[in-house]
């Protein structure tokens, strides 16, 4: 079984050569690792390799193929790349994502204020929407001199993480 994995900016080829119980032989970019791997708690793996003990935590991402991986020293964003992922990616150019023209909150919260209205011309840095979470207000500003195309939320609404709130044009 072979997959590609993106880890931050690196893409590696990963292959399962053999597996028996907790023992596994896995090749990463051709480098063979003879390891002992076991899930010790939900989402937490213990890996023994050459006598070293690695405790690795996985946090599920937006899709089942994405993981945030915590090691002792640092946190990585990883994504399993399979045929489906590649296909979606080739089509995703037209898809709507958080980008320059879409204003989304990175955290869940409550819309406190929307000082702009649809059709209004806004300047770079102008406040479009104020979201409050945990008693902290964050202002989301225009990324360029643009026009407010659509407002998808109202003052007092609760928003989810990454929900698009305002579209600019």
């Amino acid at each position: 079984m072979t997959y590609e994995i993106n880890i931050e900016s690196r893409t590696a080829k990963i292959e399962l050569l053999s597996r028996a119980g907790t023992k596994a032989l896995i090749a990463v970019d051709g480098h063979k690792y003879d390891i002992d791997i076991v899930m010790v708690e939900p989402g937490v793996y213990s890996i023994l390799y050459k006598g070293n003990s690695y405790n690795i935590e996985l946090i599920g991402g937006d899709t089942s193929k994405k993981y945030i991986v915590n090691t002792f020293a640092r946190t990585f964003n990883t994504e399993i790349v399979d045929a489906e992922t590649k296909y979606i990616r080739s089509r995703s150019k037209g898809l709507e994502l958080e980008g320059d023209d879409n204003v989304a909150s990175p955290m869940p919260g409550k819309v406190v204020k929307i000082p702009v209205s649809v059709g209004e011309a806004v300047k770079t840095g102008q406040t479009l929407i104020v979201v409050e979470a945990m008693k902290m207000q964050s202002e989301f500003k225009a990324s360029g001199d643009k026009t407010v195309h659509e407002i998808l939320v109202r003052e007092g609404d609760t928003v989810n993480a990454h929900q698009i709130m305002i579209k600019l044009k």
Binding site: Y67, T75, G109, K135, S138
Partner: protein
Amino acid sequence: MIGKVLIANRGEIAVRIMRSCRELGIVTVGVFSDADRKAMHVRYADEAWYIGASPSRESYLNMDAIIDVAKRSGADAIHPGYGFLSENAGFSERCSREGIKFIGPGPFAITTMGDKITARQTMIKSGVPVVPGTTEKLTDENKALGTVSEIGLPVMIKASAGGGGKGMRLVKNMDDLLPMFHMAKSEAMNAFGDDSVYIEKYIESPHHIEFQILADQHGNVIHLFERECSIQRRHQKVIEETPSPLMTPELRKEMGDKAIAAAKAVSYEGAGTIEFIVSDNLDYYFLEMNTRLQVEHPVTERVVGVDLVKEQINIANGLPLSFRQEDLKQHGHAIQCRIYAEDPENNFMPNPGVIKHITEPLGLGVRSDGYVYEGYEIPIYYDPMISKLISWGISREEAIARMRRALYEYKITGVKTSIKFLERIMEAPAFISGKYNTHFIEENNGHLFTPRSCGTACEDMAMIAAFIDYIDKLEKLQHRKENGKMTSGWKAFGQKRNVLRH
């Protein structure tokens, strides 16, 4: 004597107060909002009563609802914790009018100190130095502009009713003044129900050092030494320690005496904290008094050996202080790290959500004051603090090493936390040497925000774990599908029956 206490708070502090009550054999009454039905303080309390909707203004700031519960539950006293109604003079007064003991100072001390402007005037009278700034509340834009042109930039805008960094803004450019002024007002309104703000000259490279005091109803006031709180982000403390690496025995004596004088000036009762700003050359200015228990009180408890909540309750019972000044000594060194549900890499953006997994550190010299558990959802309505981790060591070096060990053991998944960021602070040379001020996080940006390298093997292990998890997940899914086909027995039965019919 107090036999039943209502805790008008939530989160870790509500649990912490209930712990001391439990040790004293006092019955605890918890209160909760819609968002907090599953919160730990509701589970821990002997009694738990509903007080309103999730936004603080409708529940934890709702005096009528809280007083009503106190009466119906038969509570003798109310402990306000920190934040919410803890520094609300009207609430303290209301409690005494209703015949319920407020565990804290009377309305006079809270009004005088809680209104930061009056506090400044009172301190000047008692000979305690203060930071230059406004002498009255700022309500309109013109006055704000006028004050700033008088005292010069940079300035701090602070909520007059404030504390805990809420409604506080640093202004460096004139252009930012008015937007910041309005945001501070709006935040202050949400957090404290009062939108008055004031402006103070901003002291460059300041150290934030505070003194813990205890005052009984008989006029006895003692201090429990200092806490160094200079490591802050967004004017909110992140790490506190005692003793302060900056402190000298002479300065400690002098500032301790001023702290006692400050408390006496308002006939203080209970536990309180006098905050000072200290410059590099050890000039100090009164900043404000917090007329309540502080978030960082555990470091003092650990080093001085006093349970501050128990002392608060003793004082409320009218007992004299259990200690005299000369009985108190600092033993060893304690550090507290605040663990927040936030993303340090993304401007410390709060990150509420469900705790998928948590392992709290244990072992010698470690204390963890928290309230979350596996499966608990941190609500969006309240503070992002998950817990406080406190380490103690015989020396500062040992306390730091122990904190690093404890942070290493601390595992939380499901929400982003500041744990890794705190680990980097513990490794920062400026922190280790003890030479830091409130600009520490800005000045050590490079060190604090550069991810540690973990080597190729470690990076590969991260990928392997994700890979194994994914293929095992796939396999389970396929297994379920196959089983699914086998168990759709009605179809098979129908087919068989059709066969039999023919």
